[in-house]
């Protein structure tokens, strides 16, 4: 038995002992709520065990997570898309509700996608569906991208620069936008004046990435705090006002 096995069995032993104590002392109720807390704590610790190294507990939690996610997605698609939008309207087709006949077109496109799984003789049909999805997606994305990524950025940058702090702010933004745009020029060599502007652009990018990094780390820490709070307050039922 090597060190990893020892750690693994010790962990299982401690986890089992703690849960026996929690259930026996009534800290965790012997009902579905208590069972749910026990399972959630076990899966949380199993996933965190990856921080030590890959192990059977992590593998179990990982496969369970993937399986549950797939089942959840299937459930969602069935009850929120297929059943209300396809199966029910088509199964209720009669003389009065022939307007729903158009639903057969997207349904057929959906079936065409499944031909990917069939022999090469029929799999070309899937290209019709993919062409539709890619074409529609691009068509929707282009005007939205121009509005959100271009116009919504351009207009606030093109404002009158006033001799106050707001003006200084606007000037810095203008310099930053221009310099970063120069960095993303591909058809000129980044030397001389273009090189200097490009370098300033990189500084602006790195400053913004640094700010974004710090901000996101804070958000991730709050997620960690939430999880540790669950383990201490809901699973171990510690009465400390920790979180």
């Amino acid at each position: 038995m090597n060190r990893d096995h020892l750690v693994f069995f010790l962990f299982l032993l401690v986890f089992a002992a703690v849960n026996i104590y929690l259930f026996a002392s009534g800290s965790l109720p012997a009902n579905m709520t208590g069972l749910g807390t026990f399972i959630a704590a076990g899966i949380t610790l199993s996933l965190y065990s990856f921080l030590y190294k890959d192990n059977p507990l992590f593998k179990f939690a990982e496969n369970l997570y993937v399986g549950v996610a797939a089942a959840y997605t299937l459930n969602q698609v069935w009850y929120t898309v297929l059943l209300p939008d396809v199966i029910t309207p088509i199964s209720e087709l009669d003389g009065e509700s022939m307007n729903n006949l158009w639903l057969l077109v997207p349904t057929m496109l959906g079936f065409f996608m499944l031909t990917q799984l069939s022999a090469a003789k029929y799999s070309w049909l899937s290209r019709i569906a993919f062409a539709f999805v890619v074409g529609l997606g691009s068509g929707l994305a282009i005007p939205r991208t121009i509005a959100a990524n271009l116009l919504a950025q351009m207009q606030p940058t093109m404002q009158a620069i006033t001799p106050d702090f707001a003006g200084v702010n606007l000037f810095i933004i203008l310099v930053g936008v221009v310099a970063v745009l120069v960095y993303f020029f591909y058809s000129v060599e980044h030397t001389g004046a273009v090189g200097v502007a490009s370098k300033i652009g990189i500084y602006f990018l790195m400053i913004s990435f640094g700010a974004s990094f710090g901000y996101t780390i804070m958000a991730r820490l709050s997620l960690l705090i939430g999880r540790v709070g669950f383990l201490l307050e809901e699973w171990l039922v510690l009465q400390l006002p920790l979180f």
């Binding site: 116009l151 404002q159 993303f184």
Partner: protein
């Protein structure tokens, strides 16, 4: 067009004016919409603090009038998307009405119907409770075929498309220069390393579906990677979280192996579905990385919070990592944990850079010209607004 609507409304829609009542009340079909809405405008007036405007809708000039709650009215001091940026709009109040209360059951909301004439009553209520005389104006909602407020979007999109087309034509006639992109220069080196070590190359897609620009760019990079792994006889594994992206990836990898003269080396199992949920995708990929220990990780597409989980695990197993994303919130994580990172547009440029195809090179050239146009417009617009107080160029680039 938007000014025509306002002018016609002002000219023909005038309601009788009494002392202190809201003046210049006009109701028109809300321009540039898909119907189901009318807009009421009236002159901005100096009212005592606490005074409020009351709106009511009726299907006849003589009532009955159905009240509209303040929360249900989109009351705006200006409405550039509908009425432009002229100074005259700053002297008016605009209210868009899409529904009103049913008198029999006030909790039931009745929608504004297309083709039906509605009469809108506007009056002001003083803090004392006294209600000033009202004014009535009528309008009929209808659908508009074009949303003229998005005209600048259309023009800019068309002009840029033409510029890109010009770039493509230019690229077909002569060779175009593209500056060095370090992350892409390293791609062959990273794939060569995997070959030397006899370990697989892991290509992980981001979370966006096939319609996303970053996913399309990632597919283009995948094509080049698959071509190289076919030539080097290196194992390639492509992880997906979207079934459509997986199907497209399969086609692309298959074609690349065919083009490289190695159709026998292609297997459908190379491109596989991992999970559709974000963190189960990350957990499964992390597990794969520590077990299979790929020599090279290529992470391309739009990533969210899983970016650091993937890149950190990849770094811990000693894989050479090349990431590319246009998700600016995740770029810092890739920059700190990966060997090379393609930032934003570098990912889009990757396919042109790798393939050197005239169409893609010309498109990149066209984009550069477009960027230059925007850069000049931005500097010129700021100068005009600052020195001459002239903001028309700024409004040309309005997203409203």
């Amino acid at each position: 067009m938007r000014y025509c609507f306002l002018f016609l409304a002002l000219l023909f829609g005038a309601a009788p004016i009494h002392a202190q009542q809201p003046t210049g009340v006009e109701a028109i079909d809300t321009p540039n919409d898909s119907g189901g809405s009318i807009t009421v405008t009236w002159a901005r007036a100096e009212l005592p603090d606490g005074a409020v405007y009351k709106l009511a809708v009726g299907e006849s000039e003589h009532g009955p009038f159905h009240p509209i709650n303040r929360s249900e009215v989109n009351l705006q001091s200006t409405d550039p998307g509908t009425f432009g940026h002229g100074d005259e709009t700053h002297h008016r109040v605009f209210a868009k009405i899409t529904e009103y209360a049913d008198l029999a059951d006030p909790s039931n909301r009745l929608p504004i119907e297309n083709g039906k004439t509605y009469y809108v009553r506007v009056n002001a209520q003083l803090p004392s409770g006294e209600t000033l005389p009202f004014a009535i104006a009528s309008a009929t909602a209808s659908e508009n075929f074009f949303n003229w407020s998005k005209g600048n979007n259309f023009v800019i999109g068309t002009v840029f498309s033409l510029i890109i087309l010009g770039g493509i034509i230019l690229a077909q006639k002569r060779d175009l220069f593209i500056r060095r992109i370090a992350g892409l220069e390293a791609l062959d080196e990273a794939l060569g390393r995997a070959t030397e070590m006899g370990k697989p190359v892991l290509f992980a897609h981001g979370l966006h579906p096939m319609g996303s620009v970053s996913t399309i760019a990632a597919i283009n990079v995948l094509s080049r990677v698959a071509n190289r792994t076919a030539e080097f006889n290196t194992e390639l594994r492509v992880a997906n979280n979207d079934p459509i992206v997986m199907a497209v990836s399969r086609e692309v990898v298959k074609e690349s192996y065919l083009n490289a003269g190695r159709p026998d080396a292609y297997s459908e199992d190379m491109v596989f579905m991992v999970a559709t949920e974000q963190f189960s995708y990350a957990a499964a990929l992390d597990g794969m990385m520590v077990r299979d220990r790929p020599a090279t990780n290529i992470l391309m597409g739009y990533f969210y919070a899983e970016s650091l989980l993937l890149a950190e695990t990849g770094a811990s197993i000693g894989a050479i990592q090349i990431a590319g994303t246009d998700s600016y919130t995740q770029l810092p994580f890739f920059i700190t944990t990966c060997d090379y990172t393609l930032m934003g547009e570098e990912l889009y440029a990757a396919s042109a850079y790798l393939s050197r195809e005239p169409k893609l090179l010309g498109s990149l050239k066209g984009q550069d010209i477009g960027k230059a146009v925007l850069l000049i417009a931005m500097i010129l617009g700021t100068l005009l607004a600052t020195v001459f107080d002239f903001d028309t160029l700024t409004h040309v680039f309005s997203a409203d």
